[in-house]
């Protein structure tokens, strides 16, 4: 009797999740395409790039503060193993104030010689151009409309230094804030004029080029990566009420265009074991497999009482640029009960 009760409680508990949940449908990525990339070399993963103010062309104090803040913004929001930027009076990468390499009309510019060095310039506050007079908001006691946020422009340039080319916006620019690395930066107070974080389409390319920090790090919503989930069992033919070890692997698909993200294991996601009764066409969520390791492995040991088909499902997360997938189907055959059998009705 005790055995029978334990069996029934275990089985009903295992079935409950499947009665509630349903199979999710993969959603497309919510954002626009990742930023294009420049054709040059990459810096090393997590390489620290130390910069200093260019001798003879040091920015004013307010712009120094903005540039250093932009470096911090880049480091904090790169969402990848892209290079980091650190101010150091002994640094070998010069950031200057003036025309530099910006040409006639540029307000900010860069050069990069990866993996060795970079330069950056911001143009002079108050300089007259054909389009008007350049005003940095940080240089104004009370920022006025039409000024440029130096922290945003410097972050744009740091993005270029990493490898990013300009984001390609929709025609109506409704996706403007998906990237700070823009062909045409906006002035105060237009939407996106003071972005102090990389946008999702900036980080998407940084992730492709430099990889994600950890196997459980979220993938940019600007990506749309195919995933692969597989399922294995230790035994597909068991005695009534015996245990089966279910193991599932989840990873990014192998694809050369994914570059450093190709075949990455995906840890700490939600992988559900789904069950289909023999003769049925309906799959129900049966059990959520815990992520036992950071290597994209999901395991559980479950007792089974009747033959059924199983598969694992990874539903496309709304917060990540990953597509959903389902594994191949495995049938686990359970032998009939021969003694101390539970009530067939309540056992269901």
């Amino acid at each position: 009797m005790m055995r029978s009760l334990r069996q029934r409680r275990h089985r009903l508990g295992a079935l409950l999740p499947g009665l509630i949940a349903s199979i999710a449908i993969a959603l497309p990525a919510l954002a626009h395409s990742p930023d294009p990339s420049l054709s040059g070399s990459l810096f090393g993963q997590d390489q620290q790039l130390r910069f200093r103010w260019r001798s003879g062309a040091e920015p004013p104090s307010a712009l120094k503060t903005a540039i250093r803040a932009a470096a911090d913004d880049s480091n904090a929001t790169r969402a990848s193993r892209a290079a980091t930027f650190v101010y150091d009076t002994a640094g070998t990468n010069n950031i200057g104030y003036g025309t530099g390499t910006c040409g006639v009309n540029g307000i900010g510019c860069f050069t990069r010689t990866a993996p060795t060095s970079f330069t950056m310039w911001l143009r002079e506050h108050g300089r007259p151009f054909d389009w008007g007079t350049l005003r940095w908001c940080q240089m104004q006691a009370e920022p006025t409309n039409g000024c440029y946020d130096a922290e945003t422009i410097a972050l744009d340039e740091f993005g270029h230094v990493e490898i990013l080319n300009h984001h390609v916006n929709y025609a109506d620019e409704s996706d403007y804030t998906d990237a700070v690395v823009q062909t045409f930066s906006r002035t105060r107070p237009k939407t996106g004029w003071n972005m102090h974080t990389y946008g999702v389409c900036d980080t998407a390319t940084l992730q492709v080029k430099y990889d994600v920090p950890t196997l459980s790090s979220p993938y940019s919503r600007c990506l749309d990566l195919t995933t692969i989930v597989t399922l294995g069992v230790n035994d597909s033919s068991i005695a009534f009420g015996a245990s089966v070890d279910f193991g599932s692997l989840l990873r990014v698909a192998t694809n050369s265009s994914y570059e450093r993200l190709s075949a990455n294991p995906l840890g700490k996601r939600t992988v559900r074991l789904q069950r289909r009764a023999i003769g049925s066409t309906t799959w129900t969520n049966f059990y959520t497999l815990p992520s036992s390791t950071p290597t994209g492995t999901y395991r559980a040991t479950l007792r089974l009482f009747e033959t059924a088909d199983f598969r694992t499902a990874f539903s496309a997360p709304t917060t990540e640029g990953l597509r959903g997938d389902t594994s191949a189907i495995i049938r686990v055959t359970v032998a009939p009960c021969t003694s101390n059998c539970p009530d067939p009705l309540t056992a269901q």
Partner: protein
Amino acid sequence: MPVRAMTWAAVVLAAVAACVGSGTPSSTPTPADPSTSAPQATAPPATASQATPIPPTVGPPVGRLAAEGGDPVSGQLGTYVWRDAGSDSPWLPGAPVTVGAGEPLTVSFDPAIGVASWRARLVPADADAPVGATLLGQGVGDPAFQAPEAGSWTVEVHVVFDAGDASYFWRLEVT
């Protein structure tokens, strides 16, 4: 019950991820704007005697827009990336040029280098951003498109070259 070795099934489901117008050849382009030259390395404000030298930077070619029978007008060079360097500019007003409505316009480059692709779009001349821009044309090879209807317009021609990409601007006075 026999216990078999755990075998993880590996299932790979690979899926992945200019129109020609009939306008009269009566354009009267204005001289090239002096602010349109290709970027050159220039010295920063020299406030110290130990200034760090700036290496020279080679940038995109000069873009010249011409109507039939008219002299070419160099465009204002806006935002570009060129090899491992780049410069970010605002949306520019454009180098002034007067053309007839519907007139065929072409853009050539100096030095002449291959164009991978291009896209021309326009906004009213008083606009300071491309929001709501109208596509004039796009394609491969040297840009060619038709002048819009009468009015004052800013035309941006974005060109992709092998070594990078660049935006060029003209202010069209269309009569």
